[in-house]
């Protein structure tokens, strides 16, 4: 079967790729586009390690067919923060020791950024339920939740 041609936007850049019909966005990001910051933990949408933002919504890259990216705006972990300045969520993860092995971290940061983009002042409960689609086995979530609270305060210009 012939491959499909896809034109999309990844981290602000125009991108074109060819893919087989069953290939997921996660497959293409990692294996075709070389964006390996997005991780595969389960391939079934249960762990959130492959969280990406597609047209403003958090999506599991493993549950999205690559052809569905046509015409969409895709943001991955590589598109968060700037070369001279980490995003406040990234900085808070560092300062608050919100990672141990770091494998789930890109997914958490993508999901947390999307949360703060739409809700700049989430409660602890809102943070916990928003991030309930992201599994972390190392931290027990305590420091992750605190880092998101910290980042929210930073983004509002308040000292945490």
């Amino acid at each position: 079967m012939a491959k499909s041609h896809v034109s999309t936007t990844v981290n602000g850049d125009p991108v074109e790729f060819l893919c087989d019909a069953p290939e997921t966005m996660l497959d293409v990001l990692r294996n075709t586009l070389g964006l390996t910051g997005t991780k595969e933990g389960c391939g079934t949408g249960d762990c959130g390690a492959c969280s990406i933002i597609v047209d403003g919504r958090v999506v599991c890259g493993c549950l999205m067919l690559a052809v569905e990216a046509t015409g969409k705006q895709v943001t991955t972990i590589e598109g968060i923060g700037a070369p001279d300045r980490l995003h406040p969520v990234q900085q808070a993860f560092l300062e608050d020791a919100a990672l141990q092995c770091g494998f789930c971290t890109p997914g958490f940061i993508v999901a947390a950024k999307a949360l703060l983009d739409r809700n700049p002042d989430p409660s602890e409960t809102e943070i916990r339920y928003w991030l309930a689609g992201n599994l972390c086995r190392c931290t027990g979530y305590d420091k992750i939740v605190r880092a998101v609270q910290h980042a929210a305060a930073e983004m509002k210009g308040q000292p945490a």
């Binding site: 990692r30 390996t36 990672l99 770091g102 916990r128 599994l135 979530y141 305590d142």
Partner: protein, 757 residues
Amino acid sequence: MTYEPKNLRVVGTRPIRHDGADKVTGRANYASDFTLPGMLWGRVLRSPHAHTRVISINTDKARALPGVKAVITGADLTLPPPGITQAGESAINTQHLAKNLLARDKVFYDGHPVAAVAAISEAIAQQALGLIEVVYEVLPHVIDVDEAMRDDAPLLHDDLFTEGVEPKPEKPSNIAKRIFVGKGDIAKGFAEADIVIERSFTTKAVHQGYIEPQGVVANYAEDGQAMVWCSSQGQFLIRDLCITMLGMEASSLKVIPAEIGGGFGGKTTVYLEPLALMLSKAAGRPVKLTMTRGEVLRATGPHSGSSMTAKIGAMKDGTITTAEVVIKFQAGAFPGSPVGAAVMFCSAPYDIPNLSITGYDVVVNIPKIHAYRAPGAPNGAFAFETVLDELARELKMDPIDFRAKNSAVEGSKSPYGPTHGPIGGIECLSSAKNHPHYKANLGPNQGRGVASGFWINIGGQSAATVVVNRDGTISLVEGCPDIGGTRASLAMMCAEVLGIVAEKVRPSIVDTTAIAFNDVTGGSRVTFATGIAVVQATEDAVRQMRERAAKMWDIEVDQVGWRDGAAQELNGNRSLTISQIAQKAAKTGGQIMGHASINAHGAGPSLTTHLCDVEVDRETGKITILRYTTFQDAGKAVHPSYVEGQMQGGAAQGIGWALNEEYIHDAQGRLENAGFLDYRMPVASDLPMIDAVIIEVPNPNHPFGVRGVGEAPIVPPLAAIANAIYDATGVRMRDLPFSPPKVLAALEAAGKAKANG
């Protein structure tokens, strides 16, 4: 090295970890992030049956598929000579490992590898698996540990005779080993007791649940030289197991450690690496092999399910006189469960004069059990600490006071032999008793549980190199994969000794050709043992820099001290910074590099006490964790944030084990919940904040007093939650997990029993 109190400037602070930026930006490379030019993709064919004979395997059609470059089966893996490789807290039997990597004449569990393929794409490799024809003769299987011990149980290995019983059995069985720890006279102990409680408990197999599935890229060249990129808890262990499996020389295999996406003990063995090497050798090209989550759950080491009975006697004043415990562990497909740790440590927080603790290691048709954080200890503590709670209630004693009255202290003889040095059991208990959590009010259907835990921790072999750069920065070279922040803790100890800031020390974890052998990252040993190696290597570099300064000043070296990152003239006020010394190194004797390679002894045990508040929903059986506080002796917390992180993460894993996690098999012995949707680990909305209270009773055998901290926190939660459920409902839960249907059934049974009076 021994502990000396010091004024510390770096140790005990909370700098940003050195690998942090890479890990929050997606730069950090984990196992499956590597690719090589010309790389092939591998896939593994796995048995769909729990226990079978393999009659034949025909790979002809798979080999004929265009794009397939190599196919291997058990026939391609020569059985290595018998031997044992030490892997942290586990020991790996090399012949069992070979039979686990690729089934030979028999399959022992659903998911057991039967063949592997390398092809030009993952899709073709997957298609090729479907073309391999395997003829199985399905055999009866057994998974439950009590059933596997019965005389009429299906037999896994016809050459397995129980070790540790006299006389040696004449018939083979599934019981691989009986082990025993005891002291005193338990009959006398029970006679002295005013109250004796005996209860039985069961737990299901659980998985380590690391989020990164196993993955590897292997490249085997025509001259026999090979490289492996993989994520593991020890690149040297991976090398040694691979060369044993393939009959290679150690210098012919370079293992390059990728970042590791969680291990918890589960990545202290090999599943894919030897297969990837064999495929690469056969195909003459690099091969990538990764597991799906389903493969991880079906075929990598879960932790033992268990069946236990604990009988404990105490006097009216609360003195425990005796304990008799029997612990049976699933070993999985081959012998070697961590039942020994359960036996040695279940009573270890306490000083009990009469003990009889027996363990059984039992093979069953699930994957070979592998280490999981404080391997074995949580099971034993579940039984022991739950019976202690019942005893305290019968004696009308506060559960913390009861534990404190019987606590092991410095000078107590441990159940497993040695006499304890300074340990922090009493300190954890008194800190818990005085914490606001212990005094907080509880509402209806809410309860509070207490439990303690013990983990021995290990030392072992570590090496470190401290390279002094011209600009005064330090390259710290070490060989233990960083799972939870050990780059930071090791760099901090180096910086402390040098008298510079942690940011000036750059740690690197290097491949197997770049440093001497290191034991695995496991046994909570890295900050302790590799920490000692780093301190010694740094002291070696300081000694060399003092010598260079003496040369530059033309004085004796004993006239040169070291303070604040500089050589100091003792009888004068001249000083030379690290960079001033390093810039002259070429003229004073060559580049400066400190080194140490050690086998560390004297790891201090870590004790811990947990407080847990739960609320029980009587309509659904759901348990909500309302509040959770951990108290743990860290000896010295080098980076307190990452010590807290270990305590919080271990508690969360224990909570998952208690509330939801279990291996569920169908009638054919196939794993029914081989995915994260149904193997239900805690998510953020399941948990409250977890307060971590660090206690510091210095370990006399480490220069900064460090004890391992990683494992102890998973030990108490099972019992702490069981005890909290009882406090909330008056119902004792003794069979894990406490999932809603089981809690509801227990509540209803208790309600009926009460109604029937």
